[in-house]
């Protein structure tokens, strides 16, 4: 096995997100996006990590400037919509509606000894269905084929948020 450090400093990202919770800057968070999907399916290329958070302060900016300045003080760099840690881009996205429910119902995991939470596959599918880009449809297909899906939960989420699965 390669001794080279991983190009994805995910443990550092999760540790930083945990610090944001401890510091009271965010209420809760979960790993979403492609990296969350990879937890359940075969690995594929992705170039960033999405941290979806529930803001402590639910004003318009949802505490994003505070999060940015906190992480910048820890050595993170800002590049357009991303924060960079060890040159790896991370996006912090404020949760609302479906994504907020996805964070609250996220699965607790441990990654390299760091406790974290990750979106459940049913929520990843529902969010992908709500976004509907080509890559989201591919993600839905992959999850339905490779992950264990709670159909009752998925149907319930889709019904409550008035979503439909695309024809694959």
């Amino acid at each position: 096995m390669s001794k080279e450090p991983s190009a994805i400093p995910l443990a550092d990202v999760l540790r930083a997100a945990n610090e944001l919770v401890s510091a009271g800057l965010i209420e809760d968070y979960a790993l979403g996006g492609a990296l969350a999907a990879i937890y359940y399916v075969e690995p594929f290329t992705t170039y960033d990590a999405d941290i979806i958070f529930i803001a402590t302060d639910k004003t318009l900016s949802a505490g994003i400037p505070t999060i940015y300045s906190h992480l910048q003080s820890k050595g993170w760099r800002v590049e357009r919509e991303h924060l960079l840690i060890k040159d790896f881009p991370v996006q912090f996205l404020a949760a609302s509606g479906l994504t907020e429910e996805a964070v609250r119902k996220a699965k607790p995991i441990e990654y390299e000894g760091v406790p974290a939470k990750i979106f459940r596959p049913e929520y990843i599918i529902a969010i992908a269905a709500s976004v509907g880009r080509h890559k989201d449809l591919a993600r839905i297909e992959q999850l339905l084929k490779q992950a264990k899906i709670d159909k009752t939960l998925l149907d319930d989420i889709l019904r409550r948020y008035k979503l439909k699965l695309p024809k694959l």
């Binding site: 390669s2 991983s6 190009a7 994805i8 995910l10 990296l35 990879i38 937890y39 359940y40 399916v41 075969e42 690995p43 594929f44 290329t45 992705t46 170039y47 995991i109 990654y111 390299e112 084929k145 490779q146 992950a147």
Partner: protein, 52 residues
């Protein structure tokens, strides 16, 4: 890739999967860099020394 192989990869630990994604990123960067090098045309050096 065969579906059975995809299923096997899906069963790997999350840590192992993230390492593999890291390898994919490195590989795609390497390929991109090689393509950029190949795309640079071989102009004669004099063309740069004496621009018109």
């Amino acid at each position: 890739m065969k579906p059975e192989m995809r299923h096997q990869l899906a069963q790997l630990s999350f840590e192992e999967k993230i390492r593999k994604v890291g390898e994919l990123i490195r590989l795609s960067r390497k390929v991109k860099a090689q393509r950029v090098r190949q795309d640079v045309p071989n102009y004669p050096r004099s063309a740069f020394r004496n621009p018109k």
